[in-house]
Symmetry: C2
Amino acid sequence: MIFKLIKDEGPISRAEIARITNLSKTTISQYVESLLSANLVQERYYSDKKGVGLKGTLLEFSKNSGVVIGVDIGFTSMDIAVCNLAAEILNKYSLKISTKENPHIILKLLTEEANKLLVALGISKERIKGLGIGLPSPIDFESNSPICPMTMPDWDRFPIKAYLEKEMGLPVFIEDDANIMALGEKCAGIGKNEDNFIYIKIGTGIGSGIICNGQLYRGLKGCAGEIGHIQIDNETDLCICGNKGCLTALAAGPAISKKGLVYATEGKSKALADLYEANGLVTCEDIGRLANYGDLTCVEIIKESGLYIGKVLAKVVNILNPSLIVIGGGVSKLGDVFIAAIREEVYRSAFPINTRDLNLQRSSLGDTAGIIGAASLAVNELFNYEQITSLLSYNKSN
Amino acid sequence: MIFKLIKDEGPISRAEIARITNLSKTTISQYVESLLSANLVQERYYSDKKGVGLKGTLLEFSKNSGVVIGVDIGFTSMDIAVCNLAAEILNKYSLKISTKENPHIILKLLTEEANKLLVALGISKERIKGLGIGLPSPIDFESNSPICPMTMPDWDRFPIKAYLEKEMGLPVFIEDDANIMALGEKCAGIGKNEDNFIYIKIGTGIGSGIICNGQLYRGLKGCAGEIGHIQIDNETDLCICGNKGCLTALAAGPAISKKGLVYATEGKSKALADLYEANGLVTCEDIGRLANYGDLTCVEIIKESGLYIGKVLAKVVNILNPSLIVIGGGVSKLGDVFIAAIREEVYRSAFPINTRDLNLQRSSLGDTAGIIGAASLAVNELFNYEQITSLLSYNKSN
């Protein structure tokens, strides 16, 4: 509790800690001593305005006493960052991958690139504290492996945590991608001061991370936030999960580009038809660019996707009454028409009281939400653990 | 923390508290002394199996050191109970009311009947610690009053907490009805050992209470769980909230009896038509009774309502990944056909991983979930407060 106060609220004085916790000065002194000797917190001296003499000491988290590695694996890319213990990025690297490949190949790439980043920063082995990783799959937290990952069957039940801990010699923590992005927004983005918000990732798939009462909410088996497989009633498009009318099948990146392709071949939009003839394919980015140039068919495609997402988010708003919805992922770059369509439908169909103080915004962190969140996951997990062990060693010495 | 351990895990020894909390024996002794002198906990002596001599003392919550009043106001009934500090019912009374009446009338009835119960039990004034109350309305927790209550406009922004605190001379805590029922199931029902579950109340309206990570989840403004106003896409029935296709408009008690009336007048079911001719109305209970006698039209009506509820619960399951859904409220008494229809649709349309370990059951507490939950709300709130003040006074004396 004292450590959490110093980490989250620091720099803070011992007197302020006593006031907030109602613990005795002796108890606080003992704990602070053990935290100082474990190099988890440090003292900062401050003087009065004129700089004449010391006025006292504050305590703050030693955020540069170590580093963690944050990794965000998407279906088509992998981002790796080395961060300090406040999850601030020191160095990062992105590469194109495909999760259709075997996890051995991808994870080997991961360890190689992470080690290059560490070498470039000149970081000694003992300063590297852990690794957090986000994956585009539900996670089974008993085996710490992906379960039933769509379009990446080779990864099903692959023991990622155990594999990476052996390869890297570090504690490893895994989480699904939308959850780490929610943690990223909580740590350093527009969710920083919000206790109840949703991060929605719209890309090849659609998923969400939920922050409830200030903490990541995982549900019984880590499958909370599976909004990509919420059905739009009476829609019939088949989804890869086996159900019909899932949000992912109607509104994610592939659904948007598929619709573009249909309209291109039907000749509904000349710009789309020209583009298809030139490139042999239509991408989600193409549709966004053409919409920005004023192609109304592309505007319509984008708006339709936004309306479907809004329909589902309205239900999420009724259930969770959040203060904020953060829209992220590659498809969120489609721009203001897309975000406006989502807002329109949420305000139209959610219960009015639940949208009174609702804010709906694009991610402020963009592509870095994942790596910051993965680093933040590692820090949170490490310092839960370290805190307990430091307390235990304190108690043993008494 | 020590008090919470004794209250939730007791009877418990001081040594066990030290093991769990990692606090020093001196610190624990001091806190326990202040809890004992405040009569919040008591000691229990235990001997070995043969009863030869004392073996030690355990600490337990003094659940009979006071009482709280639990009140559950529905649209057509009010239940009042006097409970001990473990929210166990000592005495209760139910009466028919209508929330269309002015709150002054209903709350006057409440105080009269509560006082009668207290007198019947011979409870002295100083032993009455507080009152918890559930209302069929969203609650504004800044003003502690109902906001935008459907079909009970006189109650909008009525300062219930302040009014009852003045009338009863007790601390009063208010909450929406489905939330207190969820608390009731958490305290004494089938949710007792579950950390992530949903209670859904199906009656004149439909609402839900959400337990996340072991605690009631209220959302930003206390409006979490508003599932009665989640829309079934493409349905057009107008709801009193102003939207179309809300679950309440399609599946709650009035929608069921309205459908019964239509089928009675259309002559689709002879049994329904006879009943309507005899009574001049068709109730939800009538439809349940006729269904049990084998009337297929009534079975169809019940099943249709269950399927709509299942459609919405499937979305809740995708978002929250709960371990348990508890079905309560008057309409839940329609029986197994109703519950089976809900289950069928949840398993059909939720994301398969999210239903792997899902349990869906009727409330085990039935009509008492509300009063137990309201009493439990009061106890939880009182002992948050008392705990803090006792800690404060402890610190002051140092």
